[in-house]
Every structure is written in C-alpha cells, then in structure tokens.
C-alpha cells in the first residue's frame, strides 16, 4: 500500500446522507473515528445502520457528502481502507458446509492461530464439526473468531456483533474489543445493547432522519433486504 507508516488511521465522515430505494435514510451525518476509538451506531429498525456501514466499506454506492480515510477521500481511498478493514456483516461470512477451522483457514489463518482463536470464543471441541450442525450463536462465534486471530486489521466494522450471543460470549467479545482499542485499533459497530467499553461514543441515526418515520410495516424490511 502507498502509506508505509500510518501514524493514525482515521475515518472521517462529513455531511453524509444515504439513500435507499429513493428514500433518504439520514442526512447531515458528521463523525470521526480515530485510532483507539470506538463508536456505537444506534437507531430504530430501518434507520439505516446497515446502509451506513455498507456505505463506509464501499459496498453501497448511493451517498452524498464526504467520506475520507486517512485524509484521502472516497473512492480513491477505498483499496487502502479495505486493506485495513475487518468487516462482519449480517451474513456473517461463515460457510455452512465448512468446519469452523476450515472457515478460518478460508480467511487466511494458519491451523495453530485458528485453534487458539476458536478456543477464545469457546468453540474448543467444535473445530471439526460442520457449521450447519452448529447453532446460530455458535456460527456467530465462528465469525467473531476472526477478531481473535493474530494480525487482525486495525479497522473493525461490525454489524450487530452481539446478535445471538450469550452472556459469556458478549463479555469475551467486549474484552477483545477493549484489547483492540488499547492497541490503537478502531471499532465501529451497530448494536441495540449497551456495551461497557472505555471511551465508547454513541451515534443515534434516528436523530439524523430527514422525514417523519414511516409506519413500521413499511420500514424495517428494507435494511435487511
């Protein structure tokens, strides 16, 4: 990559507004995420949390405003951002026909590091079971095991990482997130649950909604589509 020594990875968003299916989800969004910082995105169902995350990783193209990674604007900065990104979305990226160990190998982990990561998400003993035999929460843990691999990228963007996790899973994840922040990483995540992280800021997308929220029946579905 062009930047050899990024002294501080930072993601800046200025006056961002996103549109989906002809509807403006939010407008005038401003925030900055620097090294060692965490930001929790909140908002009602359909407020555009997933759309925001997918816009930031360059997967959803419809936005106005400015997104910059290390002072370089999108879309020129996208390859560099993606090289420093670990993204876990709604579809967790866990292939059901593979075992947890094979899934992590698919993400480039060696056997030893993958075993250690699986141990930390409490999947020891399940490493050779097929993922479609595991529960939803266990599959979530397989996806989250990527956060426990050595050499994880500095920017984490996580969509509902706590979904389907039990109490022990949440606390393990919380610990790993704190550890990542202390090493100078940055985390942007969506969640409806409060997380105990030092210096955690929250961003409520509903405050940036442009229109009156529509009836629930019409909302909700589009973000997950």
């Amino acid at each position: 990559m062009a930047r050899k020594s990024p002294s501080s990875n930072s993601l800046q968003v200025r006056q961002l507004s996103c549109e989906r299916d002809g509807r403006v989800l939010f407008a005038g969004l401003d925030f900055e995420l620097g090294a060692g910082q965490a930001l929790q995105v909140e908002g009602a169902n359909g407020a555009g949390k997933t759309t925001l995350l997918r816009t930031l990783i360059g997967s959803a193209g419809d936005f106005t405003g400015e997104i910059a990674w290390n002072e370089r604007a999108f879309p020129a900065a996208l390859p560099d951002l993606r090289a420093h990104l670990l993204y876990i979305g709604h579809g967790a990226g866990v292939r059901r026909g593979l075992t947890p160990l094979e899934n992590l190998a698919w993400y480039g982990a060696g056997r030893g590091e993958a075993m250690r990561a699986l141990e930390q998400v409490d999947l020891f003993g399940f490493e050779d079971s097929l993922c479609h035999q595991l529960s939803a929460g266990q599959n979530r843990r397989v996806a989250l095991a990527r956060l426990f691999l050595p050499g994880a990228p500095p920017l984490w963007i996580l969509d509902e990482p706590l979904a389907a996790l039990d109490v022990a899973g949440v606390s393990a994840l919380q610990g790993q997130m704190a550890c990542h922040l202390s090493r100078g990483g940055s985390i942007l995540f969506t969640s409806h649950q409060p997380l105990a992280l030092a210096g955690l800021r929250t961003l409520n997308l509903s405050e940036y909604a442009t229109e009156e929220p529509e009836p629930l029946a019409e909302e909700g579905t589009d973000v997950f589509a």
């Binding site: 990559m1 501080s8 990875n9 090294a35 292939r95 190998a105 698919w106 500095p154 790993q176």
Partner: protein, 239 residues
Amino acid sequence: MSSLEQPVLDYTPRARNVAGFVALLRSELLLALRRSADIANPLLFFVTVLALLPLGVGPEPDLLARLAPGMIWVVALLATLLSQESLFRGDFEDGSLEQLALAPQPLYFAVLAKVSVHWLVTGLPLALLSPLLGMMLNLPSGGYLSLFLSLLLGTASLSLIGAVGAALTVGLRRAGLLLALIVMPLYVPVLIFGTGAVQAAVDGYAYGPQLAILAALLAGGTALAPLAAAGAIRISLDN
C-alpha cells in the same frame, strides 16, 4: 485475554494472492465434494436424457448414430446450465461473497477459483462419461476422441460463460429462466464448434480446427469472463 500484544498501527496487509487463490480453491473443492448431490444431479440428468432418447426416437442404429454428436452436446450444455444457478448463491446468502469482494486480492481470482471447481465437478465428469453415452447411441468409432476432447474444452468455456450469468442474477430470488435467457445465446458458438468437431471426426475429416477454435474460446473466456463476473457480483452486492 489475547495472545497478541503488538500495536495495530504498524499493520501491513498480508499479501496472499497465490496463497489466497490456493486456499480458496481448496475450500471450494471441499465444499463441492461435501455437496455430492449437487455433483450427481447434472450427471444423472445427462445420463437419463440420453438413455431415454432411443426410447423416444426409436432404436434404429443409423438414426441414433446421426443424432449422437448433436444430442450429447446439447444435453451436456443443458446439464451445465442446470448446475450453474447455484454457483454464487450460497456465498451470496451467507455473506462470504461480500467478504470476497472486500478482500484485498482481486475478485477475478476468486471467481476463477469457483469456476475451476465448478468445471472439475461438472464439466470434467461429463466429458469422462461421454464415451460411454456415445456407445449407447451407436456413435461411429471415429468420433470418440473428438467427442471427449471437444467436451473437455467446451464445458470449461460453458462454466466460464455461465458464471457471468450467475453473477448477474445472484441477487434475484428466482433467477433460473433469466439465467438461461442471458447465457444461452453465449453458449451457441461453443455448441456449434463442439458438435462441428465431432461431426467432422465421424465423417472422417480433420477436426483440429474446431478444437483450436474451442481452445481459443476457452482462452478468451478465461481472460474476460471472470472480469465480467466480478463486475456483475459488485453490482449484485450493491443493493
């Protein structure tokens, strides 16, 4: 808590183009072999349709011999098409297609890996089975080698072309017919030169030129189809 203590600021992305391709190829192959029903389906279709053909048109050896090159090729083409729809679907649904699109290595290689495995589990077995079906249909003895070789080259092109259609339609719920409509016209040149090679061999002519054209189609397809499919995947993911 964690085994790693070094700061992440001096993070350098792992360059793993070749290793990434090999890892992808391995897991794709593993997945394909575990879904053995998906491998068996096109083969069963191939064998069943061609076994029914003599019942439909009558068992006269001369008639069957005349039909054999074209019928074997058309059914092989349909069998490939049948298996094509699911090429990216599973990955699209579980989010791993998005992960591939975000990965630092080009999506081209990911598509190439998937298509290679698709060919290994459909095209290659079809080509290997074809002499047996040629015998069932009384194919003249001169045609066997050209049938095998033309299917070997041709099915690889079909897999590549079909990947573009599969990538374009992966975001749609019921894509089967649309996929066929997109892909069928592009299959036509492969079909023409494939049957042409077999017919030429049966008639006792040289079939080298037809095979050369099939190989050229394959070379062009290898260079261009994964690019087109990668672009189509990005479009499919963006909504």
